[in-house]
Symmetry: C2
DNA sequence: TATGCACCCTGTAGCAACTACAGACTCAAG
DNA sequence: CTTGAGTCTGTAGTTGCTACAGGGTGCATA
């Protein structure tokens, strides 16, 4: 049998044990069968599912979005465009974050290059924090 | 007198009332004096301090970092380079985040352009989620 | 057989940084 | 005098984990 316990699932997927149990509580993965000693026992399908979850999480999807993706993926004959919609929406969010961070980076670096040393009282950076 | 109540402070700074009270609990701002009716009453200095906090938060500093900045800013005769250090460190973090997001964006957009429609069963995007 | 030791169990509490109530009070205008 | 907006305290919820505490399990080794 290729069943694994939670530690095996953890090393197979790179998801921490505590996090796996959290996903179970959150309903992202179903409650696995148990061994005689009450250890969780996972199938290869469970491994695949958790890999999917890990990968989507790494791509920055929220657990809510992951749930939706899993939901759609479960219905094999459904139209694929719903996934495209989700992914595209997520891409737009990522683009917005990148833009925000880039603007912020710009401000921060301008602040830093304006620093000429001296005491706190006449620090250019602190001035930049306070202006409007 | 130019004292304001919490609502005034909120509109003057763009920080929500609940958040102001949270900052007070967290010790980022000191407990203000109270009116006869037990309303919080803020001075212009309080407004300036909260503006400072808001701006540094908007620049992505954590509350812990904000605390450190406020601490340094309070000692006017101290050397300014500590602030430079903090800001530079923060800039490095921002750069890392931008790099991460950009890599992620790359993957996401590759996935999306690979989609040729059809049913979920042969969806390229879902395949991308599962591979590796 | 005893005894380590690694692994697993449940349940709860904590983290950041807020946000959202509930239920009561205050204050100014009409 | 009432109405409505503003404020008060206190507590619980959010997201996505992470970290215990205090036990049980399973296997190898002395």
């Amino acid at each position: 049998m290729t069943q694994v316990t939670i530690g095996g699932l953890s090393t197979a997927t790179g998801v921490k044990i505590e996090t796996i149990r959290y996903y179970e509580r959150a309903g992202l993965i179903s409650r696995p069968s148990r061994t005689s000693g009450n250890y969780r026992s996972y199938t290869p399908d469970d491994v695949a599912r958790l890999r999917f979850i890990k990968r989507t999480r790494d791509l920055g999807f929220s657990l809510e979005e992951v749930r939706a993706l899993l939901d759609i993926a479960a219905q094999e004959d459904r139209d694929c465009c719903e996934i495209d919609v989700l992914a595209t929406k997520h891409l737009a969010e990522v683009d917005r974050k990148i833009a925000d961070l880039t603007a912020l980076r710009q401000q921060l670096s301008a602040m830093i290059t304006s620093c000429r040393g001296g005491t706190v009282a006449d620090c250019q950076i602190l001035g930049a924090f306070q202006q409007d």
